[in-house]
Symmetry: C2
Subunit: 541 residues, 2 copies
């Protein structure tokens, strides 16, 4: 039974301290409310398991109470090596409800990387999916209490852990909404991973921002294609629950399962990179959906081909951009009604822009090396910087990295963009993906977009490769559509019709692209080959 | 031209003080963002005038800069006696952008009441619509700078006031989101009106709550049937702007204009009491709308007849409840999908409940005289109390009234409700509308709902009238539908089939009901006659 609000935490009873007109922003309260208003509504579908909001809340409070009984103190880190599942969702509510800090770990990391995160975060608890056991088996982690999750049956230790605890919402220990709710470790392409701290306030506001940008309502059904370990699933565990929508869990991105759930569960929303979108649109079960389904696309802009095909299937694209340090997305491309009239390629070009800040965020800036705004001319390139409620509070236990990232009072994304006259930003390169050829900057993203506009191209990645004369020159790696054909010369010609010739690749290589678990192309893998044996990955003229 | 965010207020430039990860919540930023992302989109339609978001922002910043040039200091009160119009919307952004506190005044008050509010609030400026001039003419208000608004033409002093000022967003003086953004005076049915203070934080969060509860998006078109002077239009000036939706102004509730704008402007949302809804559904132009239009209904629950007719017209009802002290609505009836299958009368009975807290609010409680929760049995009656971010910060310059309202750490609404087993509240009486007959409490709302279920009844009001034997007895005032007929005996019989007999009225009087400017029935006018010549309005046995 859901307790009356006066008898539970989050809503202090008569005589409690604090201001009548202020409650600390806390996304845990979204679950309390959803369970109170919609107790019998299905909250989560996880394979054969279906939990109503009353059950999801009870299970989350059980987790919280069990953690406290097991010795959790305020601020203790609770790591989770879980797939998208009911327990992972419960961890997003139960751990902060207990007063702990959630450290959700990418289950595709190597053992040694997991060990680093457990060690660095000082985790005292670990929620461990049975399938992730091999990651932990080689490690010695004496200070960590491991709670194993497997199958949800009576013998499941996680279920036993819950069964032994009270289902009443625990009294909140939160004193200030700027306390840390979670730590998300970056992928660490350079150096060791860094622990990005999210606050209760930021998570709450970002969740409401996602509700608004994705236009979710109590009728929404959200499919978990995005891993919850990735930026806490862009705060969607909290966002979907804020509107008492339905979570549909998905352990791995499997286009067959995605189409089965689109049709069978009435999915209305999901998130994914173009790589995920490509898997969805190219699957044999793909068909036009009766109701529009909203797809938040990030990591790279959707190509005209992708956009056209998604529109045919009734998939409505919302293009967003962000980083782990910004709770996932912080900007959204503001679609204008007039765009519907434009030809596909032009529409794709406009929708390729990352746009501007979420309703819950500040507007972002693009600056030069002295932190002065660059010209808003769509040509000059600068670094994207952010500040406000959708920016992390810092890197856990790494003051030097925090100070560097926050220099001048703004968070420095390391991403390069142009700034359009209408105020929208458009990414040119993620951090180090810029190619410098004969002293000219070439945006690998710009070249990729030009190549992706070719009707035969499914996806592509462009890197700089060493060149005696120019320092670096662009090289393209291209995957073609099923049954489509194109030669390297055709691709290069196509590119030269669209871009300055110096920006066009000299070499095109065909084949599948190496990807991270979140669907990002691993350019460093591509670079390995061409840069093998060199000290620097930056070409010198 | 909209300034780049780094060059304007709200987004401090490099080297500014403050935390990188915190921006004070400020609804003014919604306009800054909307104008930045959607500069060419029509923001407001006001008769012949149509302003794009760029223009609405520029006009609001001009107002702010002009107020500062005219001597406004931080925290100065700026009163507005304006109809729903572009200038009234601009006041909701320009006054807080200037650092002033907006005091929007009901233009249907008497001169003497306006004088009290100007005096009590210490207003230094007054934005005055030409049509409201007669309210001010008899007054001596030497300390108040009056800016007259009329027609929006070149000779309009308000337009001249704007023309002389910069259109750049002024640097924000906001230091803390708990500062006061506006003061809204209660209608003062008992004693003098009280000045309800809203904070920037509360206004921001309530606006996002309204976006979510009303399910608004950038495609939304909001019709201003609700007066903006009433609880700052339930924060919808800020909410609609948060999603860059469109405002359609309406100077007075005129069903002919409402239907013209429904059809001509593609309205998607509006708010109104059942009285307003009745005017809408009973108008000769009423017809089924192609797209569903969301109607937020407050002040009284919709009757089965009203609900049925609204469904026929494709008007989707969201039933909400609140007070001036809670920024307008603070609870919403959580519609459950299963309800669609129920017969109309049963559905209306469920939808008549006021529900529970907004996503942005805490859950509300119902308590006895000792502030203990009453049983959740749907029978016991208690007082509705609230706390959290959607509660006012206090009454302006009235510590005693604030302390009384906030006793025990909760805001006391004075409204009486039952608490259902599923946690929803259902109002039984607004403050003093309880009828005590032979020592038994009778809820006038419960009796009104029973009578309103009669197919011939358009609306009704029930009051207690003095009775020698029982102290008080219920009396019903009834307005019948066009062309419908019913006798008093039929109404009483109908009522006795639904309620305990002691709750049913002894007398039914037919005719139109006296209303306030916001559509609430003025029960005190009805009571005047029956209680004339008595000291107390509470019947003694």
């Amino acid at each position: 039974m859901i307790e009356a609000p006066g008898q539970t935490a989050g809503v202090p009873g008569p005589g409690d301290a604090g201001k009548v007109f202020r409650t600390e922003l806390n996304p845990v309260d979204f679950l309390h409310r959803a369970a109170y208003l919609y107790p019998e509504k299905v909250a989560v579908v996880d394979g054969e398991r279906r939990y109503r909001y009353r059950e999801l809340a009870e299970r989350s409070w059980r987790l919280a109470n069990a953690l406290r009984s097991a010795g959790l103190r305020k601020g203790d880190r609770v790591a989770a090596l879980l797939f998208n599942s009911a327990p992972m969702l419960e961890a997003h509510f139960g751990v902060p409800a207990a007063g702990g800090i959630l450290v959700a770990i990418n289950h595709r990391l190597a053992s040694r990387e997991v060990a680093y995160i457990l060690e660095h975060s000082g985790a005292r608890f670990l929620l461990l999916d049975a399938e992730a056991e091999p990651l932990i088996a080689p490690l010695s982690i004496p200070g960590v209490t491991v709670i194993r999750c497997g199958g949800g049956h009576g013998q499941d230790p996680y279920e036993q852990f819950l069964a032994g605890a009270s289902s009443a919402m625990p009294v909140s220990w939160l004193a200030d909404e700027e306390e840390t709710i979670s730590i998300n470790y970056t992928s660490g392409t350079t150096g060791q991973p860094k622990g990005v701290q999210y606050t209760y306030r930021g998570a709450y506001l970002n969740a409401l921002g996602e509700v608004i940008v994705a236009a979710m309502s109590p009728e929404s059904v959200y499919l978990w294609t995005l891993p919850m370990f990735h930026c806490n699933g862009w705060c969607f565990p909290w966002a979907v629950t804020a509107v008492a929508g339905r979570h549909v869990a998905l352990r791995a991105v499997d286009p067959d399962a995605i189409w089965r759930l689109f049709d069978g569960e009435g999915v209305t929303h999901y998130c994914g990179s173009p790589t995920v979108q490509l898997m969805v649109i190219n699957h044999s079960r793909a068909h036009r959906l009766e109701r529009p389904v909203t797809a938040l696309v990030a990591a790279a802009p959707p190509s005209p081909t992708l956009l056209g095909r998604m529109a045919e299937l009734n998939l409505r694209v919302v293009h967003v951009y962000g980083l782990t340090e910004t709770y996932g997305p912080i900007t959204v491309c503001p679609t204008q009604a007039e765009w519907q009239q434009l030809p596909l390629e032009q529409r794709a070009r406009l929708l390729a822009r990352q746009g501007q800040g979420y309703p819950s965020a500040d507007l972002v800036r693009v600056v030069d090396g002295d932190m002065h705004d660059i010209p808003q001319d769509g040509e000059a390139m600068g670094e994207v910087i952010m500040r406000g409620n959708n920016v992390m509070s810092g890197y856990f236990a790494d003051e030097a990295a925090t100070d560097r990232a926050f220099r001048g009072g703004w968070f420095h994304s390391g991403d390069l963009a142009v700034w359009h006259p209408d105020g929208n930003i458009e990414l040119r390169d993620r951090g180090k993906d810029i190619i410098i050829s004969g002293g000219e900057n070439i945006s690998s993203i710009e070249v990729e977009q030009a190549i992706c506009a070719h009707p035969a191209v499914l996806e592509c990645a462009v890197i700089g490769i060493p060149n005696e004369r120019w320092g670096e020159r662009p090289k393209a790696f291209v995957t073609l559509n099923n049954r489509a054909t194109a030669t390297a010369e055709e691709i290069i010609d196509f590119c030269r019709q669209r871009l300055a010739h110096y920006k066009c690749p000299d070499i095109v290589e065909f084949g599948p692209l190496p990807k991270t678990s979140t669907g990002k192309v691993q350019k460093f893998v591509l670079r390995e080959r061409d840069w093998a044996g060199r000290d620097s990955r930056v070409g010198a003229t």
